[in-house]
Symmetry: C2
Subunit: 415 residues, 2 copies
């Protein structure tokens, strides 16, 4: 299969950031010929000794072989290499799948000169096809020799892990820990089978900060809750969702042991912000997306209840097609609130599209202007806001519209 | 809005049954000009004195005003008239909505010569617009005068309640109770915002059998579980879902008090069968449907678990688009099993498309023929079967594929 020449999402950023080097990280990409032709499909990331790893993974009951591998490797927690391939998810591949990750780890460990359980592996692409891991032979050793830390290497890394993505997803932040400047770079890929929990299929974050394993894991898990766990494209949860954080410790700050240490406040804020940016980029590149949608729910009985209602709205095919049709169809928002099964009182509901209140007290807003609402719906970014009028619980999630493009991409993915 | 001239679903029955008269039931339709022009939009059903009513309704937390009305009226349980309109759901219409059902009941009660709480009301169509119930004035009285019991009246009834449906949905059965022949007629409409529980937006079943209120309610609730609660089009639950059973008692059988009375065995079987036929017709007319899909799950830890997994598969946009693309993409079935959150062991899973086993023991079936699977996918009716290999729980649900037609219909519904 050659990757389909899809036009870039209209919601793509107009420019991509140049990512600065992160001390202790070097990257290289290659064409291993896993599935695609004429494009890179392998990313190798070399990590200096002392790098700590943290990870958050799909909650699918049928996770991919690489997810199983990473979960096991995290028991060690030391990291020297990350290998990511696109084109084949190595999911639901049984014994062959386990053999493929083991072989990948062996090849990478030999190339990087580390232990096999210091290698992390992620795969994305088609499910159920055996992964020909022997194709990494030679390729990864070559990557080790070529690995770079410049901006071009980061951009190439983000491109190599794309599947149906129409643009590479990169973000960078700076922070200080105890007076020492640290950097955080992140890359991610979508673009379908995107739902909490986890949302993105693959995202990798790298920092030169020195963090304990516990602090890294806690920061990542907390950050995921308000970012990747708040984005949905189609409500379908991947078998392969992987979010990892690698901290090389090369910035020179004194290692911080606990995530709630005040010394990490600035770092945590920067990390959270970067995770949100990456998560939003995934929604902006949702398959077939023409509109970026923010759903905000307030006045719920609890934050958790608000979150479930927001996801019910964001996952509703009828709401998403209405947005695609630029139709301020708030009746479908009512429907989605009602079907969430959460506490709601029809007669206290209020609904806004952008800043136009279209419904209040359980009925159409008497002063509602169809024209003003239509203006909102024509924009590339649409906010849907619901106030339940019951309590103080709130949540916000991001999604995109549901268009014929989604059907086109997914009705003809394998062939 | 004029109703869109959509071609009839390719999954429609080739012929529609002629429904026989049901003693005690007379029907008439009219054009009240609620929303559509050039087509009927009101159904009036006159019910002879002594008719008992039973109902099962949406579990939405934001039900429509007619659903609230019917739930209240069922406390009485005696029925003399049913009024159904299409074009406007009278949902999320606040005080105006309550006034509209009250006015409808008043007009119908005067026309039929009965009490207002003997009138049942259902509405389907757009949400959030006030229903101009005053347009029923004169119309319903005229219907009372014109009501018929012939086959044409039944077909017209099924047509008057359609919204985005492309064909009328009718079914009929016969049974005996204690040696007395009884008839059961049913009509239903879909065709989007279809998900358990309930599945169909509106379905009405009429019988001349004499049943106690308790027996009627129990039979209907049980029957709904294995029919309408097993069909999904888009996972979106309507605010208006209504399934009602009216039993006139005019067949002359001795009234049966309890649903589990052996005298009702044949009637129950016939009713269940009719409900399944109607539910399947709803899936066959799912918005944009080109394929009718049966999902069977076996080997689950319980029937309830199997049901949730089957719905996860049937509601997955990625599975549904794969079916639309005639792609035997069983990896997406694995994904949908995994995301259901129910007990599942990846390495025991087996998956079939039709009679072609494509996966076994957590990997591709070694003897799997892509060609044979493709043959199955090209048919208009596709069965997806999953064996979890864990226990004896099983379930089956019906759905349809997800096509560009769905997007087209729903991206431009209100305008």
């Amino acid at each position: 299969m050659s990757s389909k020449p899809s036009p870039v999402s209209p919601l793509a950023p107009t420019t991509y950031p140049d990512l600065p080097p992160v001390a202790g990280i070097r990257l290289a990409t290659a064409q291993a010929g896993i599935r695609y032709s004429g494009r890179t499909d392998v990313l190798y990331v070399g990590l200096e000794p002392g790098t700590r790893a943290a990870g958050v993974f799909t909650r699918s009951k049928c996770p991919s072989a690489p997810v199983d591998w990473c979960r096991d490797a995290l028991a060690n927690g030391s990291a020297r290499a990350l290998v990511v391939n696109s084109g084949n998810a190595n999911a639901f591949t049984g014994r062959l799948g386990r053999e493929a990750v083991a072989l990948t780890a062996k090849i990478a460990a030999e190339a990087a000169g580390c232990a096999e359980d210091e290698v992390y592996i992620a795969s994305t692409g088609v499910i159920g096809e055996p992964l020909p891991a022997e194709r990494f032979e030679g390729v990864l050793a070559d990557c080790v020799g070529r690995a770079q830390d410049g901006a071009a290497a980061w951009t190439e890394a983000a491109r190599a892990i794309m599947t149906t993505d129409t643009f590479p997803k990169l973000a960078t932040r700076e922070a200080t820990i105890g007076g020492t400047s640290v950097r955080i770079n992140g890359i991610a890929k979508g673009a379908g089978m995107i739902a909490p929990d986890m949302a993105t299929m693959l995202a990798f974050v790298f920092t030169d900060a020195a963090l304990s394993r516990g602090a890294a894991q806690a920061l990542l898990a907390q950050g995921a809750n308000d970012s990747f766990n708040c984005v949905t494209v189609d409500g379908d949860t991947s078998t392969s969702d992987t979010l990892m954080l690698f901290a090389t410790g090369k910035a020179g700050n004194a290692e911080v042991a606990r995530a709630d240490d005040p010394a990490l406040a600035g770092f945590k804020a920067a990390l959270d912000d970067l995770l949100i940016e990456l998560a939003q980029l995934v929604a902006r590149d949702g398959e077939g997306a023409r509109k970026f949608v923010t759903v905000k729910v307030g006045g719920a009985e609890s934050d958790a209840s608000a979150h479930r209602i927001a996801l019910s709205i964001a996952n509703s095919p009828l709401v998403k097609t209405a947005v695609a049709g630029e139709d301020a169809n708030w009746g479908r928002v009512v429907m989605a609130v009602g079907k969430a099964g959460e506490p709601a009182d029809r007669d206290r509901l209020a609904i806004w599209f952008g800043d136009v209140r279209v419904a209040v007290d359980g009925a159409r807003d008497p002063s509602y202007s169809e024209e003003a609402a239509s203006d909102v719906m024509r924009r590339p970014e649409v906010e849907i806001r619901v106030d339940l009028g019951l309590g103080t619980g709130k949540a916000r999630v991001w999604t995109c519209d549901l268009t014929k493009g989604y059907i086109e991409i997914n009705g003809d993915y394998r062939s």
